[in-house]
């Protein structure tokens, strides 16, 4: 009797073929993207989204072509912070154009489409059993977005991931080995412990883990123009114990938080310790991307400051 693998095709449903076609559309759509970088943590509330946006801004200020995909479909924040809330999705002849920030960063966020007063919802045949299928549906949607939008020629496509160590690994599996990971923590042993779990989980797969950023590393007091401890004094905080490189530290700045709420780019803030910290992280990230890139990715182009925007 024939076995499963002896039979070509599936009798007409073409489910596997359609999944393969989806993958091909994603690969084709991202062919012009030099680096895929997922910004994750495992821990919620450490500032992944804020760091993603402002790191993108620091990279954009160097003339690089940057896009952000807010992969946190259930808690999207990039639309508000990037100033693209309510932006239209406009279809072209083949793909859909992406909204852009004032400083030219392309952004996809469900927050552009769904009001903050509403939750992302999918119709279901299995009512009350969303734990059995929801993640699959969300990843299918992510695939549709990757395959449908005009990513074009980019230096970096940054994914702003949702929290959860297990989710981080699911994104690694879905996005494939091309995607490198940047993890975000704060000076808290609890947060570092969760990030360490993400590192451990990612280390079992092929994805590069570029390093981590310590966010909220003190706060910037404008009155005394100094960085002060936010969680614990530096001498109280033990070394992170994370066995990946630290790409830099970024202090918390209440003024920056207000800018995020209003969708104002960091570039419109005067020179601050936060800006300098982000600029250092941006350079470290580029260095790590180049130094850890697979041989094939080195061959054609290098990331150089000052590259013109394609438009």
């Amino acid at each position: 009797m024939k076995g499963y693998h002896d039979i070509v095709g599936d009798g007409g449903s073409r489910i596997l073929e359609q999944v393969a076609e989806q993958r091909t559309r994603i690969i084709d759509g991202l062919a012009g993207v030099r680096h895929l970088v997922a910004v994750g943590s495992g821990k919620g509330g450490v500032g992944k989204s804020t760091l993603t946006l402002h790191l993108a801004g620091a990279l954009r200020a160097r003339g690089l072509r940057i896009a952000i995909l807010d992969a946190d479909f259930n808690g999207p924040t990039q639309a508000r912070m990037a100033g693209v809330q309510g932006a239209l999705l406009v279809p072209g002849s083949h793909k859909v154009a992406l909204p852009r920030t004032r400083n030219g960063i392309a952004v996809f966020s469900m927050g552009s489409l769904i009001p903050e007063s509403e939750a992302l919802d999918f119709e279901s045949a299995a009512h009350g059993e969303s734990h059995t299928w929801r993640a699959t549906r969300e990843f299918a949607l992510l695939g549709e977005i990757l395959g449908s939008f005009e990513w074009g020629e980019l230096d970096l496509l940054m994914f702003d991931l949702p929290p959860g160590a297990e989710r981080t690994v699911q994104y690694a599996d879905f996005l494939g080995p091309r995607t490198a990971f940047l993890l975000v923590t704060i000076p808290s042993e609890v947060a570092r412990g969760v990030v360490a779990r993400s590192v451990a989980a990612l280390s079992k797969g092929p994805n590069r883990v570029l390093g981590y950023v310590e966010n909220m590393s003190g706060y910037y007091c404008r009155d005394c123009n100094a960085i002060k401890p936010l969680f614990a004094s530096p001498e109280q905080v033990r070394p992170s114990g994370l066995e990946i490189p630290c790409l830099g530290t970024v202090p918390f700045d209440p003024e920056l938080a207000r800018h995020c709420d209003r969708g104002i780019p960091l570039a419109e803030l005067p020179d601050t310790p936060v800006g300098r910290g982000l600029d250092h992280v941006a350079q470290s990230l580029l260095d790590r991307l180049e130094s850890t890139a697979p041989a094939a990715a080195h061959s054609s182009r290098e990331l150089r400051p000052g590259r013109e925007h394609p438009r």
Partner: protein, 148 residues
């Protein structure tokens, strides 16, 4: 999932997919050798799991079907949040705006799940431009207006 006619040792072929009922699909397969027919009846979990892959199931599905072309897929009827369903009644705007076939074809490039929201936004833009019809010129205007 594949089905094998054991007496013929021959793969069975999908024949029909009945409209969904209570979260269940009825998918009929037949053996091309002996003509024997059998039906696969899914429970709601199975139906939903396949639906969650973002694929279509049914005879005659062809390339492009998964991205929005017409098919015999029964799932859209089960997915009022996506295509084939009333589009975002909560966003209903006063006065109808027509869509030309060319503009509709371009709209189909948008993932089905977010298409109703995109449609509403574009219609709003068209009204703001004093247009009662969305054509490809309006879409190009929108791209330019939003710096895309």
């Amino acid at each position: 999932m594949k089905f094998l006619c054991v007496p013929c040792d021959s793969p069975m072929k999908l024949q029909t997919v009945a409209p969904p009922e209570g979260g269940s699909l009825s998918v009929v397969y037949s053996c091309p050798e002996c003509g024997y027919e059998m039906a696969m009846l899914t429970n709601a979990y199975e139906t939903q799991l396949v639906q969650s892959l973002g694929v279509r199931i049914g005879p005659g599905t062809s390339e492009g079907a998964s991205s929005g072309a017409s098919s015999k897929c029964p799932f859209p009827a089960m997915m009022p949040a996506t295509e084939g369903a009333p589009e975002s009644p909560r966003d209903a705007e006063p006065g109808p705006v027509r869509w030309t076939s060319g503009a509709e074809a371009r709209l189909a490039n948008i993932p089905a799940f977010v298409r109703p929201m995109a449609r509403t936004g574009i219609e709003r833009f068209a009204r703001e431009q004093g247009a009662q019809e969305v054509d490809e010129r309006i879409l190009d205007q929108a791209r330019e207006f939003f710096g895309m």
